[in-house]
């Protein structure tokens, strides 16, 4: 399975070649990009087929974990990994410069890396690379607004990275390792305290900048409002989800303490409220979608904060739904940008585009049997199943946000389809934008007919992602699992309330024998 590394290496390589190639032929550079992405899709597809529902860890360069760095492949990682080149291809900057092609390829490489990496060090590197590529792409449009937005993003993102790095540092100081599986074995002993929680908080906020977490998402409306629909779709649909995916990996593997999930729940709730309400007031279509994206990401965070499989199922459902819908909406907004009031009647005559808008809006609001409904239902079920007051408040927030969402989406639609004449249309949507959006619409409608297998697939995926022992076993082997179990026994004796008591017990095993109390003498020291 080592060939999976190609999915990261190839676009990176192509990304560095493209500017040089673009000097002689822009078309060739473009074809190189498309070809690379197609190969990436092929590589990941083959991996998906070979994996067949299992999990695999790939030790890069043959160094065995926890010493070497690893890629961890399970269904979730591969699904998001596959989504990266696919969406990059669909949302390719067709009218861009070779530099933008290059940056898109680098973004693809780093985003794929984010999906597949099995250790925090790599994650950090890919995260930074994603950020760098995004800055370039955002500023690349050349308008003053875009450059201002890029600067805003740059500042926030840099500050976020510092926090992320600080969090990683704490984790490393405590455990001496950055391998996620290895951390999972050590976490019950060394990170179940306020300092560990602080590390999580720092990492959450740091990663939250790209995951559109409240309140570190100040860049979102500016950026999505000023860049092209394709780039906005790529950032809102894909990059944000990958940041969330990283958070979820960290949460599930390393920080099973309830406080960590609570922090995420609270910030997610605030994000829902702020995003949806701001969208309600927004008078510009792209900004409205940007704020709506903040709200949706809030729901994603809230859903993932539910411990165990239920939360992951719900979070995946909301995230995948948004990944499908929001880029398509941004593509539709390409021709309908600017002030909403100025769009009076703009949708009349463009029935395909309007119909797609209606479909996406209905799914976002959650009209059964569209997928958005099931995602919302799973989220609310997960939250209310917990039975705590805070979770109830979360469910209430999600449901109240639905009302606000319906109000502004359909207010916008009523303006678009108003019967008044007088709107001078900037022409129909570009064919390719419409085709891409239609594709998303088809997938959305098609999934209604495949709800049963999709639901089962999602459940299996979530079960795999929630299986901490499975992760450890895949990366480190069986003995490490027993080791964690034994450690958790000690922890749960000391803190009976802490989670993780459902994991099997095991005998002490000294496979990686670090003497207790010498945290710095880890694999990386």
């Amino acid at each position: 399975m080592n060939f999976v590394v190609l999915a990261v290496a190839l676009p990176l390589l192509a990304g560095f070649l493209t500017p040089a190639l673009g000097r002689s032929s822009r078309a060739l550079a473009q074809w190189l990009g498309w070809g690379t992405l197609a190969v990436c899709i092929g590589v990941l597809w083959v991996a998906w087929a070979r994996l067949d529902g299992g999990t695999v860890a790939i030790a890069i360069g043959g160094f065995r974990p926890p010493l070497g760095i690893v890629f961890y492949l399970d269904a979730v990682a591969l699904l998001f990994g596959l989504a990266v080149p696919l969406m990059a291809l669909l949302l390719w900057p067709r009218e861009g410069t070779p530099q933008q092609f290059a940056l898109t390829l680098v973004l693809t490489a780093s985003a794929t890396g984010l999906a597949l990496s099995g250790d925090i060090f790599n994650l950090y590197v890919f995260y930074e690379l994603t950020a760098a590529a995004s800055f370039g792409l955002i500023a690349g449009r050349g308008t003053g607004a875009a450059q201002g937005a890029a600067l805003r993003y740059l500042l926030l993102s840099a500050a976020g990275s510092v926090l992320l790095l600080a969090g990683i540092t704490i984790v490393y100081l405590r455990t001496g390792t950055l391998n996620l599986a290895h951390l999972a074995t050590l976490a019950p002993e060394r990170l179940q305290d306020p300092v560990g929680l602080a590390a999580f908080a720092l990492m959450l906020i740091g990663l939250g900048v790209k995951g559109e977490l409240f309140p570190v998402n100040g860049w979102v409306p500016e950026v999505y409002g000023s860049v092209s629909g394709r780039l906005a779709g790529l950032l809102a649909g894909l990059v944000s989800k990958l940041a969330v995916l990283v958070v979820v990996r960290i949460l599930v593997l390393i920080f099973p303490q309830p406080e960590a999930a609570q922090l995420m729940l609270v910030l997610g709730m605030l994000g829902i409220v702020a995003g949806e309400l701001a969208a309600w007031r927004a008078r510009d279509l792209r900004r409205q979608f940007a704020f709506s994206s903040i709200g949706q990401l809030g729901i994603v965070f809230v859903a993932f904060s539910v411990p165990g499989e239920a939360g992951i199922v719900a979070g995946l459902a909301v995230a995948l739904h948004h990944l499908l819908v929001k880029p398509a909406l941004f593509l539709l907004a390409e021709r309908w940008g600017g002030s909403i009031e100025g769009l009076r009647g703009a949708g009349r005559g463009h029935w395909l585009a309007s119909g797609l808008f209606i479909l996406f809006a209905l799914s976002l609001v959650g009209l059964p049997p569209l997928p958005g409904f099931w995602a919302k239902l799973l989220t609310v079920m997960g939250l209310m199943g917990l039975g705590t007051g805070l979770a109830w408040l979360g469910a209430l927030t999600v449901m109240a946000a639905t009302v606000v969402e319906a109000a502004y989406l359909f207010r916008t639609l009523s303006v678009l389809l108003a019967r008044e004449a007088g709107y001078t249309s900037p022409g129909p949507h570009r064919g390719l934008d419409l085709v891409t959006a239609s594709l998303a619409g088809l997938v959305l409608v098609g999934s209604v007919f495949a709800l049963h297998p999709l639901g089962d697939g999602l459940k299996a995926m979530a079960a795999q992602a929630a299986d901490v022992q499975g992760y450890i076993r895949t990366v480190l082997g069986d003995r490490a699992v027993a080791r964690r179990g034994q450690r958790e026994d000690r922890i749960s004796e000391a803190h009976p309330a802490s989670r993780g008591s459902d994991r099997p017990m095991g005998r002490a095993d000294r496979a990686y024998g670090w003497p207790a109390g010498s945290p710095t003498r880890g694999a990386r020291s």
Binding site: L202, W280, W374, V403
Partner: protein, 623 residues
């Protein structure tokens, strides 16, 4: 393939045909025929109302491990037959001249036909639901279908439709919360699973379920305080659409309440659930909400100057009678409440159509700009007359029977205050529908309406047919009451023993055959005196006096503006618009919050938020 499958298929085909061919006015009769097929299919399921086994639907799905299945029972059938009838009448009404006129005026006939067709087809899905998940799916579909119908008019209707949407989604979310709560309690979405654990549930949980379900479904019914959307949304829909919506749409809320509150939780549970520190139980609370829903909207209707709005406000008030009857729950009251659903659908559809007919001929529904039309549109006048007698709940029409049953039950149950509320509501209705009749048809004809003629047959036929039903089911209410005994049995309520003319009771029952007979005998006596008197003189419509002022035929006089000035002098100051104020404050508060939320994203230094949240998070971790 079962009859229910056939019904679904027929309604889907109707919607498809409406979408494909609805644009052409000549498609109207064909579409009407398709609605006729739907009605026939429902009629074939008639044995359900006499205790036959439920009719299942063949499609059954399983999503995320939860099964969804559908079937028609007596309760479903009762609502379905009204739905199918109302849809047939509305489609018939717009099938000819009205549809052509609408298209000529620039209306989107295809959209209207499609929207109308979507409504009954989604309702048949809702009415067949037999678990929380299918109920919710059907509920949302119905909500969105009526949203589309409200949008059809464009213009001011859009604003009302959007307001409806906010209320409807809010209600749907309450229903969703109830459904998920039930799932959290039982691990399943089956009604049976919840019914099984009801005896073990704490009062708090039960109250949550009751409030969420009655609030969520109550939004659709326009129960106070969630009623503000309904009048505008229904009134501003194009004529036949209002007739359909006014007849049955909001009753879906009652259906869902019956299914969940009475069918699953059970009336016994509601009766055992007392409100702390008060003598009230849950079902009485519902009855009191119903009482306020009767009185306040009815008197709001009194103040309306647009005929469509007046009727729509009455629709909200009449919903109160239905809920009041059902909430009291004994044999008489629940039969009255349920029968009122049927009765109201028949006369309300006829009334909306009569008003639409007037609009069709005169171009206005403004009660200050009409008058004297009785000489020009006598049959429409007759339909409106029959309709308002039904709406006011007077004999010999069917509205009297259902209200009589409710009054009687309230007295039997020792609920004098609720009784007074119900009677006050009726009083307000009588006063207000007289205004409707008077301002449109009585008085002197306006000059601009000299050339108005009666509406064509395609519009008259459904109106007259509905009027006939209003009269016949008033004469022989047993026809409908028979169905309701099966529904009562299904819901576990006490069962009425009806006769063809009404009910027999040792302490005085109701036999409409006698009531109507005596009424008409009285008319006969009057007619005899009239004919025997022999000194009749025909007076021209314009040859009359007004309040002692002599008017010549040049001055057309019709007293309509500031109608009931004397009454308004007394009760006028009682209208406070409190609910409007409440709604406006909620909107203003949301707007304020939204400004704050938008402000978060307007800061020059977003990194300050990052710093702030980091400090807060670390402080929280340390604490």
């Amino acid at each position: 393939m079962t009859l229910l499958d056939g019904l679904w298929l027929a309604s889907a085909l109707t919607a498809l045909a409406a979408g494909l061919f609805g644009r052409s006015p000549s498609a109207g009769p064909w579409l009407t025929a398709l609605y006729g097929v739907q009605f026939l299919l429902v009629a074939f399921m008639g044995p359900l109302a006499y205790g036959a086994d439920p009719v299942p639907a063949s499609p059954a799905f399983s999503v995320l491990g939860y099964g969804l299945s559908w079937q028609f029972t007596a309760l479903s059938w009762f609502f379905a037959v009204i739905t199918a009838g109302a849809a047939l009448a509305a489609a018939w009404f717009m099938s000819g001249a009205w549809g052509r006129h609408y298209a000529e005026q620039g209306g989107d006939l295809r959209l209207l036909q499609l929207a109308l067709a979507l409504n009954p087809s989604t309702m048949y899905v809702l009415l067949a639901s037999r678990d929380f998940l299918s109920l919710f799916v059907g509920w949302e579909l119905v909500s969105w279908a009526s949203f589309v119908l409200m949008l059809a008019a464009g213009g001011v209707g859009v604003r009302w439709a959007l307001r409806y949407l906010v209320y409807a989604i809010g209600g749907a979310m309450a229903v969703m919360a109830a459904m998920v709560l039930s799932h959290a309690l039982t691990g399943s979405f089956e009604f049976g699973a919840l019914a099984a654990v009801v005896p073990d549930l704490s009062a708090g949980t039960l109250w949550s379920l009751v409030i969420l379900l009655s609030g969520g479904f109550g939004v659709k019914m326009g129960l106070l305080p969630f009623h503000l959307w309904q009048a505008g949304a229904y009134a501003e829909t194009p004529g036949p659409g209002s007739a359909f919506l006014g007849a049955i749409s909001s009753r879906m809320g009652l259906y869902a309440m019956l299914l969940t509150l009475f069918g699953v939780l059970g009336l016994g549970t509601l009766k055992a659930l007392s409100i702390p520190w008060t003598p009230l139980e849950a079902h009485e609370l519902l009855a009191w909400i119903a009482a306020f829903t009767i009185v306040l909207p009815t008197f709001t209707a009194l103040k309306q100057n647009d005929a469509r709005w007046l009727l729509a406000w009455h629709g909200i008030g009449q919903g109160g009678y239905m809920l009041m009857g059902v909430a009291m729950g004994d044999a008489l009251a629940s039969a009255g409440g349920l029968m009122h659903v049927f009765n109201h659908a028949t006369y309300q559809a006829a009334l909306f159509m009569a008003v639409t007919a007037v609009v069709y001929r005169t171009g206005t529904a403004d009660l200050n700009k009409l008058g004297g039309l009785v000489t020009r549109m006598p049959l429409t006048f007759l339909v409106l007359l029959v309709g308002i007698i039904g709406l006011a709940g007077l004999p010999p029409m069917n509205g009297f029977v259902s209200k009589w049953l409710i009054y009687r039950a309230l007295i039997d149950d020792g609920q004098p205050l609720l009784f007074v509320a119900a009677v006050v509501g009726t009083l307000g209705t009588i006063v207000s529908v007289y205004k409707l009749l008077h301002n449109i048809f009585l008085g002197q004809l306006r000059v601009e309406h000299e050339s108005v003629r009666e509406v064509p047959g395609s519009m008259l036929a459904p109106m007259l047919a509905l009027s006939l039903i209003v009269f016949v089911t008033g004469l022989a209410p047993g026809l409908v009451l028979d169905w309701l005994t099966t529904v009562q049995r299904e819901l576990g309520l006490a069962v009425l023993a009806p006769t063809l003319g009404g009910v027999e009771r040792p302490d005085g029952g109701l036999d409409m055959l006698w009531v109507v007979g005596i009424l008409f005998a009285g008319f006969g006596v009057g007619a005899l005196i009239f004919l025997a008197g022999g000194r009749a003189r025909t007076v021209h419509q314009l040859d009359n006096y007004a309040g002692g002022h002599f008017l010549t035929a040049e001055v057309r006089y019709h007293y309509s503006d500031n109608f009931y000035a004397g009454l308004m002098h007394r009760i006028g100051p009682w209208y406070r618009g409190s609910f409007q104020w409440l709604q406006d404050s909620v909107v203003a508060a949301t707007d304020l919050l939204a400004q704050a939320a938008a402000g978060v994203y307007r800061v020059v230094q977003p990194a300050a938020w990052l710093l702030g949240v980091t400090v807060l998070a670390l402080w929280w971790v340390a604490a």
